[in-house]
Amino acid sequence: MRWGSSASSSGQRGGDITSLISDLPGNCSIATNTVYTLWLREMLRFRRSKSRIIGSLATPLFFLVILGTAFNSSFQMRGGGDTNIGFLTPGIIGMSILFSSLMGGVSILWDREFGFLKEILIAPVPRFFVALGKALGGVTTAMIQGTMIMIVALFLGVEYQSYLGMLTSVGIMLLIGLGFIGLGIALASQIESHEGFQMIMTFITMPVLLLSGAFYKIGDLPMWLKTLTYLDPLTYGIAALRYTLMGESEIPIIICLIVLVLFAATTIGLGGYLFSRAKA
């Protein structure tokens, strides 16, 4: 048996950390292999869903073009010389990452619905890494979409700070995506039916998006609303994107990075844990 004794780590109720560490080299190859396999599956599916790619780009672009133009003629953005569309772009990229990564995590509900979840759960691999692979797959698609919006915005006349900034922002997208896909996996592992999906969309996506400062500056808000925006992890993601793309941010970049890394680590850990206890 190739897996040998190391594979005992994938118990029915999740990976046992001590045995994971005790047989590190063997587990590493299983872990990488599992993560890669699940990532590969997401990529194969993504490649085929052209309508999904177009659809997922259309919404943010509508926001960008319509809101950007409307804001331009309605308000004068205070501070900073850039145009409203330039201000909006990082927010819209953040929004698209939020949508597609949450969706990616929640897609476990569809796997359950169509039975494929059983095939994954019966495999002799640690479920934590299954969840991680699924997360990375979903985040990759989210990053591709985010990058496409970034490039399209370039053609709409948005001027980015630098190429390096654009490159760094892809890394920020990864962090934001990991955070929310972990959240999606955690929720999907707890919800037994796909009816709960609408609840998630309404009670998580909307508040998270609207409180994030994607569409406005945080500095001028009343105290109660400002407090709420600071509790929203996406606020830090969008602030970081604004920093890397536009070179300005209302929140220091180092704080943004700390919050994003902590958020991603927490939700991925939680998602992996809850997924390993999930029922088929």
């Binding site: 005992s8 599956r41 169509f114 039975g115 095939e119 019966i122 002799p124």
Partner: protein, 333 residues
Amino acid sequence: MDTLAIETVNLTCKFEDLIAVDHLNLQVKKGELFGLLGPNGAGKTTLINMLSTMILPSEGHAKVWDFDVKKTPSQVRQNIGVVFQGFTLDDRLSGRENLDIHGRLYGLSKHMRKQRIKEVLELVELQDKADVLVKTYSGGMMRRLEIARGLMHHPKVLFLDEPTLGLDPQTRNHIWNYIRCLNRDENVTIMLTTHYMEEADHLCNRIAIIDSGRIQALDTPENLKNSLGGDVVKLVVDNEEIASALCKLYIKNGCAGNVHWKKSSIFITIKDGAHKIPHILTIASGANINILSVDLHRPTLDDVFLSHTGRAIREEETSEMGKFSFQFRTARR
């Protein structure tokens, strides 16, 4: 020990107040094609789920290929293939991709995957459809692909949960052939569940009849049928009361055999049935009971099931069908 593929000791599974599998003791030898026969809700799927480590037993032990399902679930998983009752394919991927993902999850090398995919596709005759999306497959093709996938990693034991449920008779025959083939040629121990009598009868070396989470009988299909001790004489009378009264009468008359009744039918298992029919009819006419029809047949697994559980295996199914047609009728109104 070495000859056993599956062994359970007092294996039990409770769901809240329902006992799905009740202190079950079972031994399946290596190389066997073993059938679990029982009505819906008898506990077959729960048993398979426990043996395949999908759910934890509440009590008792089970070993698959000498690995304990509680203590070493991963080794059990590495050594088994499972074809679940519902479909578990990714329909947005092609058949080949489904097999490839499976091979990767079970740690097969690139070369092994390529070779094995070719082999299992040939076995289930899906080579032509390998690169088509599973979405476009028919039910029978999906089932065949699932069987192929279950075999990818050379499992020692293959679990098939209702492998032909909902398939047309022709496809069913096809799948029976594959199952026989891989039991014989690939030397895979197979445990399958079914509630089709013919399926269990045609395919399995040994059958366990399961009802209410317990094994009611276990033997080869031949022995099970012979155990009834003769032929089955079936009498149909006007209604249930008459049937039960006549039943008692036969028992009082010391009818040397097994007597059961179900609805308005009476089943008498008796040696040399053909010669006993006149006597049976005489008793009935002596009591002034009108017999509508008489039938004599060699015992089937249906009769075995009836004699062990006191009911026919298809009972629930027919009542469900009744419900459906009722709904259909009301819907049309």
